[in-house]
Amino acid sequence: MITFGPAELAATAPEITLATAGALIVLLEAFAPRTRRAFATLSLAAIALSLYFVSRAPIGATFGGRLETSSLTSVASLFLAATAAVAVLVAKRYLERAGEERGEFYALLLWGHLGVSLMVRGIDLLVIFIGLETLSLSFYVLAAIFRGVHASSEAGLKYFLTGAFGSAFTVYGIALLFGRSGSLRISALSQVGFGGDPVIVFALLLLLAGFGFKMSLAPFHAWAPDVYQGMPTPAVAYLSVAPKGASLIVLYRVLTAVYQGALPSRLQTGIAALAILSMTLGNVVALAQRDIKRLLAYSGIAHMGYITITLAVFGRGAFTAALVYLFAYLVSNAGAFACVSVLYRDETRPHPVGLLAGEGRRAPFAAGVLTLCFFSLAGIPATAGFIGKFFVFGAAIDRGLYGLAVIGILNSLVSIGYYLRVVYVLYMREPVEAEGPPPLGVSDGLALALCAAGILLLGVFPSGLWRLARSAAESLPFFGP
């Protein structure tokens, strides 16, 4: 009999904090709209508090093996909280400028964050699915939250339809896994013979598709560019990072439960194919993009390709590399979206790259950080992105997957083409807009500074992060190194 005791309270305190803060914000919005200015601070506080509770939560499984607290979940929570913090920080001024400052935005963001948090902490397929859906529902709404803007509504519709479609696959996969293992707990998948069971493998594929969808992994990526384009930028900053990481962790959880040692070669081939397709398609199509948010969407698709290399490689080292990569991706990609959010004056119109012309001089800080983010995404050394690639390709080479590494590296060459094009527009073209970007708020500045510092610190001193990731990777039952 499972009751809600002190252990359960301690374990769920992070989520309870988030849920309560969201509800509080909605209530304040309804009954004390004057407090709006404090919503961002409140949200930040909730995120921080939740992170604090994560650190205090006792290690181990609770709720009858449905929720886990481990070094992995702690590291993942740190990752998620950092993303959420960046999103909240840039959201404040963004919403003010757009005239859409409303509590629901923060509430939905916090609830979505809660959902992602459940995804990484859940060790039960149902919990994970509910987390996934909480995230999805919140972000369907966030995508469409600018009701007066056609693009926003359309993004909402597209995200909703494709998301529901993906969820159907996920839930079908869950049903099959449940049917074969007799339990919704992931641990039940570690049964002898499951690795070769066709239904299990099929169900894993469905999950791969469903969570690959959340990761915007090609060919399950198609929603991402459209949704990113129409969605409010701060929400994209979160959506383009946190759920991707969480989905990857879920995939690792499920796959390690079934295959502790190594993936069967056909599955490896399939995942490698996804990685290659995602890298190549993402990078090549990004070259043709003119809207910076779409460009970043394709860049994100490509990055999910790189990170999926680690999934194909599989193993503790690979998972460590993946976690390091996630953090690198967090600071660079969330940072890039934060910069985009700061650099465009009109939030509701498209964001063509050309409008950034000459901002290198008019908004040196934001443009500088954006450049740094792009160099990091491109994997130039002394940035976090390089460290990420270093570990990912290192892991691939360590397991002898040279082909993947070479394709990956060629892809990052292609990617430099479009990253540099944006840098070129920033610094080497004359401004096209009469007015410069809006003045930088304190919160914006803080967000950008944090991302820039993260990029450089992780880029120059990655040891700490690596140790953290390594300890997190120990949580999963990998065999071997």
Partner: protein, 103 residues
């Protein structure tokens, strides 16, 4: 066997429902009907869950279905709200005509 019904039959029906839903999702153009088809796919999963639950003699299947139905309801409310919001801009929910964001 579940009573006198073979589990395999239940699963086949579930698979068929999933396939029909898939067909609807891919081939229909009205957003609402697409969503209906997706609901059908969810129901296919529900059927599989219940079938397995019954065959295994566990309550987990039913509970999972219970949650899925709740989620479906929530999805429906949000989805329909989005349809309505978009309809204000486009006067249609034919997805062939909803392509402002592309390329």
């Amino acid at each position: 066997m579940i009573g006198k019904i073979p589990l395999a039959d239940v699963l086949v029906v579930s698979a068929a429902l999933f396939a029909i839903g898939l067909a609807g999702a891919l081939l229909r153009r009205t957003a609402i009907v697409i969503f209906l088809s997706i609901e059908l796919m969810m129901n296919a999963a529900n059927l599989a869950l219940l079938g397995y639950g019954a065959a295994l003699g566990t309550v987990d299947g039913q509970i999972a279905v219970f949650f899925v139905i709740a989620i479906a309801a929530a999805e429906a409310s949000v989805g329909l709200a989005i349809f309505v919001a978009l309809f204000r801009h486009t006067e249609t929910i034919d997805v062939n005509k909803i392509n402002l964001l592309k390329w």
